[in-house]
């Protein structure tokens, strides 16, 4: 089997190289061919052109078209080859073929089926193969849809082939997934990392990688458009859906990662500002900025240069994130084993930067803005500030991620850059961004009068202030977000601001739906809800975007809840009680269990609230036999208000008493709900608009004297 996999990888590399080189040759010849014909077209006065010249031109055109077609087909077949290699690796995992080093290190005989499938992306070599597979799949779809704009797609195909070559070179020469074990083959494998043995791990990496890899497509189109000096903004229309789908995947991947961390790692949080988490956040931030600023290019022909750099930065940061994870240059709990492939990534990053900068400098005259900005109070300037804040947040995360290394270089010692740093620096910027989320959509293109600003914002602002005051004056006993006294702690101040601004955004979004719905209702006589549905269907992108904004504020409210988190740790023997918040936990008993893959210890805890038993919770501690590692499996009881999060930490080595840690995490469920709303909004924005009703001018009213009776049918 390993031979088939290795051969498939070599074949894929050869096909990619062919697709890349033949694609370039075809484009160069087409370019040369189109230049003289364009010149000739402008010189109609020239009397005679030799028939030999025309036939040579036609021959060249035909030849280049054929070469281009073979390049496209080679790209299509690359997908089949990489798919074959991936299938082979998965089959080897299911067959427990421990002669392959990768399978030996990441699987074992008793590993459940879904995790054997997930072995494909659980280690360095496999995840690179998976990355390559997704890239080939994107390329496959792109090359099949080439008829939309053959020339632009040919350029994008060449760029994709270039990126594909890099990953296939890595797989064939630096991180081979089919490397054979030397010497005696062990009877069983080392097993999958226990932390990865969780259902979400089967879907989190694919989502994240679909996001990372997906940004290669808009980047390929952007670079292609830049190289060929593509006229107009059609390439943006073509890539809009690609970008949105990719963004949705990345959003899903990032939050699945957060949910996995929350449900598995057992420290009670969902985001630790680890370099690998940061690596996924950075392209998300620039990608989000791109999704906003690209509207300015579409609608007003502005920010063309900026958008080029933004999509390049998004692609580049996705690769940089992979470099961070793989090189071991920055220490992280997530990092893969340190290896030499970091150098490969560093070279690739440098080459892509040089290539992009070269074409940008060469063709930047093509990217001149078509319009000028007329007012500071306009949709355009709100997009500029929006982009500034997104990019600044990205820079802050990048700066914080690299600062330990920079500090080591400058002052000779490493420092830690953890959550307190990001909270101090990133939260104020994020709050500014939230203000813009409220203000931006209500500003008109070109210019907004102060009168209309006042009209649009008065009620939402009053609503936000009322909510803020309500949260401050209500008693704390009502629950987590109530009784917020911002002067007591800076975290309370941030929370209050976050919730108040979230209310402001929600009300501005609601007012947009209401105003549009009211107009339709007036014209059509429909009810308000039906009118709002029709409104959304007529401009799915705009109103889908508003729903995404609403999802974001729901997520932000969930984040704001972190200020109210509590935790408590206790040794609990049978019958012992622990009180946290309004809950009382009573330890009923402990029990053991055994399965082929792991042995486990369970704690049984009765949960009381207001003197009444409401649940029995069972946090688990597992010992994985193959890897000889221990892992906790927290039990989480989620409500809208708070999560009761219990961890069975183990037995006290001194007296053998079990230790239970309880966390009361406020508003966490809002985060996961917000993500679903964001994804729903994105899906809505991808649906094509309903055609606007055609207005037919009403016929002139007939005078009663001349009016003939009209017979109407049923």
């Amino acid at each position: 089997m390993a031979e088939i996999g290795s051969f498939a990888l070599l074949l894929a590399l050869a096909l990619s190289v062919y697709s890349f080189l033949a694609g370039i040759v075809a484009l160069v010849f087409q370019h040369r061919d189109s230049q003289p014909s364009a010149q000739l077209a402008g010189q109609a006065a020239r009397p005679a052109i030799s028939s030999a010249d025309t036939s040579l031109g036609a021959l060249l055109r035909q030849g280049s078209e054929r070469i281009g077609e073979t390049a496209r087909r080679a790209g299509v077949v690359t997908f089949a080859a990489v798919l074959l290699a991936s299938i082979v690796l998965v089959i080897c995992a299911f067959r427990d073929d421990f002669s392959i080093a990768y399978i030996l290190h990441h699987s074992n005989r008793d590993l459940p089926g879904p995790y054997k499938f997930a072995v494909l992306w659980s280690g360095q070599e496999g995840s690179l193969l998976f990355w390559s597979l997704l890239l080939a799949a994107y390329g496959f779809v792109l090359r099949l849809r080439y008829k939309t704009d053959p020339r632009l797609f040919a350029y994008a195909s060449v760029v994709l082939a270039g990126v594909q070559i890099f990953f296939l070179l890595l797989l064939n020469f630096a991180a081979h997934p089919f490397a054979i074990v030397q010497g005696t083959i062990p009877a069983d494998g080392n097993g999958l990392n226990p932390l990865l043995q969780y259902p979400e791990m089967v879907i989190h990496p694919p989502m994240l990688y679909l996001g990372y890899v997906g940004f290669t497509v808009p980047f390929a189109f952007a670079l292609g458009a830049l190289i060929m000096k593509y006229p107009g903004e059609k390439w943006i229309n073509i890539t809009r859906r690609w970008t949105m789908v990719t963004w949705a995947f990345l959003t899903c991947g990032v939050f699945l990662g957060a949910h996995w961390a929350y449900s598995v790692l057992g420290w009670g949080g969902y985001w630790g500002w680890d370099p690998v988490e940061n690596a996924s956040l950075m392209p998300w931030l620039t990608g989000t900025a791109f999704l906003h600023s690209v509207m300015m290019q579409e609608k007003r022909g502005m920010l063309k240069m900026w958008n080029m750099w933004l999509i390049f930065a998004t692609f580049w940061l996705a690769i940089l994130g992979t470099f961070l994870t793989r090189s071991g240059i920055i220490s992280s709990v997530h990092a893969f084993a340190q290896s030499s492939i970091g150098d490969w990534f560093a070279w690739f990053l440098a080459i892509t930067l040089i290539v992009f900068t070269f074409f940008f400098v060469k063709n930047k005259s093509h990217l001149k803005s078509e319009h000028k900005l007329e007012s500071l109070v306009s949709r355009e300037s709100s997009f500029l500030f929006n982009n500034l804040l997104f990019v600044l947040l990205c820079f802050t995360v990048l700066w914080g991620t690299w600062f330990p290394k920079i500090s080591e270089l400058v002052q000779g010692n490493k420092v830690t850059v953890g959550a307190p740093f990001y909270n101090r620096v990133a939260i104020p910027v994020a709050l500014l961004l939230l203000i813009l989320t409220a203000v931006g959509p209500l500003l008109a293109w070109r210019k907004t009068s102060l009168e209309s600003l006042k009209r649009n914002f008065m009620w939402p602002t009053i609503g936000a202030i009322v909510v803020a005051v309500f949260l401050m004056i209500t008693p704390q006993s009502w629950g987590s977000p109530f009784g917020l006294k911002p002067w007591q702690d800076i975290s309370y101040f941030y929370s209050l601001m976050a919730i108040a601004l979230s209310v402001l955004v929600t009300l501005t979004v609601a007012s947009e739906f209401y105003r549009g719905g009211r107009v339709i209702s007036k014209h059509t006589g429909q009810g308000m809800f039906a009118s709002m549905v029709q409104l959304t269907h007529r401009n799915t992108r705009r109103y889908g975007g508003y729903i995404v904004h609403f999802g974001v504020v729901v997520v932000i409210i969930g984040f704001a809840g972190a200020a109210f988190n509590q935790d408590k740790e206790m040794e609990m023997k049978n019958g012992d009680k622990m009180t946290i918040g309004s809950y009382t936990l009573v330890c009923r008993s402990y029990t053991d269990d055994d399965s082929p893959n792991y042995a486990s210890q369970w704690a049984l805890l009765d949960v009381y609230k207001g003197g009444k038993q409401i649940d029995t919770m069972t946090p688990v501690r597992r010992f994985y036999k193959a890897s000889q590692q221990t892992s906790t499996m927290p039990d989480i009881r989620s409500t809208l208000n708070e999560d009761l999060y219990l961890v069975f930490e183990g037995l006290n080595p001194d007296n053998g008493h079990p230790i239970i840690k309880a966390h009361l995490n406020a508003l966490v469920m809002w985060i996961w709900m917000g993500v679903w709303i964001m994804l729903g909004g994105t899906v809505l924005a991808l649906i094509p608009n309903a055609p606007a009703p055609i207005r037919v001018p009403a016929p002139a009213r007939l005078e009663p004297a001349h009016a003939a009776p009209v017979v109407t049918g049923d």
Binding site: G269, E370, Q411, T416, I490, A562
Partner: protein, 206 residues
Amino acid sequence: MCGELGRECGDSRPRLSAGRSPAGFDGRACESVPNDEPMTNSNPRTKRVKHLQKAAQTLLLCLSVFALLGAGDPATRFNEIGHQMMCICGCNQILLECNHVGCPASDGMRNELMAAVSRGDSDSLVEQSFVQKYGPTVLAAPTTKGFDRAAYVIPFAALIFGFGLIVLVIRAWKNRPAPALADGLRPVRGAELEQFRDQARKETDL
């Protein structure tokens, strides 16, 4: 994002009260009164400025008093300082969030911290002693001294620079001459442009 939302308040409280005294605020406020305005009580603008000053002073005083409330509570201090430190066992977790039973480091570190807080050691003294014992990586965030200060200064400098740049770009774009139109057509501006806009809004309104 807000896993540790703003736990740094223990650090900021003393600075708030020391750096922004009411006297300092007063001095600056007096300087800001325009020279060409006669400072008489009858001038409504001057009255308004004075009222604003008083309100600001009162607000600042209240904030300072509230900020200092509860700052000396040992349990609060233990929680705050403990969230500014890292466990050094290699788990990359905040000291008070390290959840490894039998962790070779966190239990000892917590006991040391509790002892220091009970003794009444100041925050900076506790931090210094931990840095001396465990190295600078024990602090969960860079300090505000020496090169470490750059960690905080650079992002905010970038924010200010970015805002300035955008304002300049907008100004430059606003002053850019409108593109010339062919065949003697003149660009539409001013009231005429507004009129066309109103017309377009009416015609394209839903």
